[in-house]
């Protein structure tokens, strides 16, 4: 350090420039990276969405595989060491069901004579991947007939369906309904909020009153009333979209408020004024100056809206007013689990609850991290 050569002035300027050219996106990334919980949550959510996208392949069974042989069966024990103390690749023993002579409850015992090794990419119940290709390859399984033996990591429900399969299939509906609901809210919010902010005056006033009005009705009772109005005979897909519509019916109001508020606040900003003074067109001002400066904020708000939608769908389905079986969503699964007996005797049917809570938590952390990062210049 003592013989450090003097840095020429232009080189100095270069170093300075290097700091100055960090784009807002880079700075956001730096800031986001510091929020450890948000980074972990992102990884978790990517994992969950991958599960949901490839749910047919990932799950070892199919959702309509009810079976009297596995009614309320506990999770399978994966073993590496057999009774004689020898090491093997992961395997399960044959489970045998008997009934308690008094309570008639099923009792499951392991038969240590028969071993079933767990295979990757093994065959299993047939399914149509994405409803397109017929196949029977699953990520893992035992490769034997369903009735002979199953590997059930999370146990089975009352009618003998594999809980892991149900939870993973449920993820597809529960996770997507959040995104669709938010997309619908955003669409409505931007259009209506934009109209409100753009025209101002009487239209703005009217829209603001409508928004205030909708917000003054408690959401959950309103959703209950609206979803109770859906005809029972509707097919799953139609109910699915109807529920997303109902959820976004109230969701758009906060989106519209945010968009309008940001637009109005930004109109007053100095950099918008200077853009206007240098002769930028109105369209260019909106697209080049205004949208980028609040896009990140909107993304953060959206991320925080997704878990709310997921929770709402779960709540509605849970009380029997949202999706109904044969649809498989986390709420539907929890509704089926909803009695004190199942809580006490088969706690594993509550895995969907763990999925809901962890997903919602992850979305909240992610949204929090994004919101912090959205303003990279803040302290």
């Amino acid at each position: 350090m003592t013989n450090q050569p003097k840095i020429p002035v232009d080189e100095e300027a270069k170093i300075e420039e290097k700091i100055a050219v960090a784009t807002p996106a880079t700075m956001m990334w730096w800031k986001f990276r510091k929020h450890k919980a948000a980074v972990i949550s992102t990884v978790f959510l990517v994992f969950m969405y991958l599960l949901a996208i490839f749910c047919e392949f990932v799950s070892p069974s199919v959702p309509d595989a009810t079976s009297a042989r596995y009614m309320s069966a506990p999770p399978s024990t994966i073993r590496l060491v057999d009774v004689e103390g020898k090491w093997h690749a992961p395997f399960v023993y044959l489970t045998e069901m008997s009934r308690d002579p008094v309570t008639r409850r099923a009792i499951y015992t392991e038969n240590t004579e028969v071993r079933y090794p767990i295979k990757l990419f093994s065959t299993g119940p047939a399914y149509k991947f994405w409803g397109l290709w017929e196949t029977d390859i699953h990520l893992f399984g035992l490769g034997v007939a369903d009735e002979e033996q199953r590997v059930m990591l999370l146990g089975a429900d009352r009618v003998g369906r594999d809980m892991l399969t149900m939870t993973v299939y449920g993820a597809r509906i529960s996770l997507s309904i959040g995104l669709i609901g938010v997309a619908l809210s955003l669409g409505m919010g931007i259009v209506i909020g934009g109209i409100s902010g753009f025209y101002g005056g009487a239209i703005d006033n009217f829209i603001q009153r409508v928004i205030e009005f909708i917000r003054s009705i408690p959401h959950i009772p309103l959703w209950m009333a609206l979803s109770a109005a859906l005809p029972l005979e509707w097919p799953v897909l139609k109910v699915y979209f109807a529920i997303s519509m109902i959820l976004s019916l109230t969701g758009w109001t906060s989106m519209a408020r945010t968009v309008r508020g940001r637009f109005l606040a930004m109109r007053e900003e100095d950099f918008i004024l200077s853009a206007r003074l240098t002769g930028s067109s109105e369209g260019r001002i909106i697209l080049v100056h205004m949208v980028p400066s609040f896009l990140s904020y909107i993304i953060a708000i959206l991320t925080l809206a997704v878990p709310y939608m997921i929770l709402s769908e779960t709540s509605l389905s849970f009380i029997g007013l949202g999706l109904r079986a044969p649809a498989v969503s986390w709420g539907v699964l929890l509704a089926e689990a909803q009695n004190v007996r199942s809580i006490a005797l088969t706690p594993w049917v509550f895995w969907p609850a763990v999925a809901v809570i962890s997903t919602v938590l992850a979305f909240n952390f992610l949204g929090d991290g994004l919101r912090d990062a959205a303003d990279p210049y803040a302290r």
Binding site: M1, T2, Q4, K6, E12
Partner: protein
């Protein structure tokens, strides 16, 4: 002014901020001296540590920062309340740097013996409490008066600082007052316990020029009446010329030059001070066509990465190669009351 009668002596003060990104040496070995009933002007660019130095005196440095070393000797004049401080015989010397920032001792000095006026009168007053509440609080805290007496005292104080209709203004909220009135309220609050030292941290920067002039003359008037010293922090050299008896120029946490106000303006020695003086536009000064007002090249370096040697050398026009970038210049006493940190005067 009595030179031999110091009120505050800061010796080699170091206040560092320990942050995730690194250590910021906001004040890095500053020496200041302030006599009784005089005004010390502290000038420097933003980020030179002048505000942190002021906060170090009061032990209210922001989170993450603390006084690492150095002395802040405060000569506490022990006299009966209400009598002229200048006549006091006894004094007690307290090293403020050694006090616990949350302790009773420093809290009995804060607001009573040393008080502070801040830059933004709008944001420096609580938006949800009345002026009277905020002034009365400091009076009843330090003078043990009941709320009614405190209120009367507050009204008297508002009247003293020239607040119009003090009996009505006392129940107003800050947002109901103009900027100048808010700063008057701020000053009333700071002076309500007759401190011996008032620290004014850019008190007029946020005000318009007319209001600034009023506030400045008010401060001079109050200084004469109450017999207090003022530490006046600003980056405005014009204000300094008007207010200060002595001036200290700060650069990157160090006092690079200290002198009486006249010496500093007519005979600046440090290259930084000289550059500052040249950057003042002068009314009536003849400039050739096309000649531009001088400015200091570059900007204040990255606070995490201070240059070695003299902190000013990368921007200095008179730097001596292989000297300025290696060794820290000593504090040189060039004349009576004129000190400079520069190797050129060795």
């Amino acid at each position: 002014m009595n030179e031999s009668n110091p009120l505050l002596q800061i010796k080699d003060l170091k206040t560092y901020f320990f942050l995730d990104e690194g250590t910021v040496k906001a004040v890095d070995g500053a020496d200041l001296e302030l006599g009784t009933c005089s005004t010390l002007g502290v000038v420097g660019e933003s980020g030179c540590g002048k505000s942190v130095a002021a906060r170090s005196i009061m032990q209210i440095v922001a989170k993450g920062g603390r006084i690492v070393s150095g002395e802040i000797l405060f000569h506490h004049q022990l006299c009966k309340p209400g009598t002229d401080r200048r006549l006091s015989e006894k004094e007690e010397v307290i090293d403020l740097a050694m006090l616990d920032p949350q302790g009773d001792k420093i809290r009995s000095i804060r607001g009573a013996e040393i008080s502070m006026v801040f830059q933004e009168p709008m944001t420096s007053l609580s938006p949800v409490h009345t002026i009277g509440n905020q002034i009365g609080e400091v009076i009843s805290l330090h003078q043990k008066l009941d709320p009614k007496q405190a209120r009367e005292k507050a009204i008297a104080m508002l009247d003293h600082v020239g607040m119009p209709l003090p009996k009505r203004t006392i129940d107003r909220y800050p947002h109901e007052l103009s900027g100048g009135m808010r700063q008057r309220a701020m000053i009333a609050m700071a002076l309500s316990c007759h401190p011996s030292l008032l620290i004014a941290d850019e008190p007029t920067t946020a005000l318009d020029v007319t209001t600034e002039a009023q506030i400045l003359s008010l401060m001079r008037k109050l200084q004469d009446e109450l017999g207090m010293s003022i530490m006046f922090i600003t980056h405005n050299l014009g204000v300094i010329a008007q207010m200060a008896d002595r001036v200290a120029v700060m650069y990157l946490g160090k006092v690079v030059e200290a002198a009486s106000v006249d010496t500093l303006f007519y005979k600046p020695l440090h290259p930084y001070t000289q550059a500052l003086m040249e950057s003042i536009p002068r009314l009536g000064a003849k400039k050739r066509r096309g000649e531009r007002l001088a400015s200091i090249r570059g900007s204040v370096p990255d606070p995490y990465n201070l240059p070695k040697g003299c902190p000013f050398h990368p921007r200095c026009a008179k730097r001596v190669p292989n000297v300025c970038d290696r060794e820290e210049p000593p504090n040189l006493k060039v004349d009576q009351g004129h000190e400079v940190r520069c190797v050129l005067y060795k």
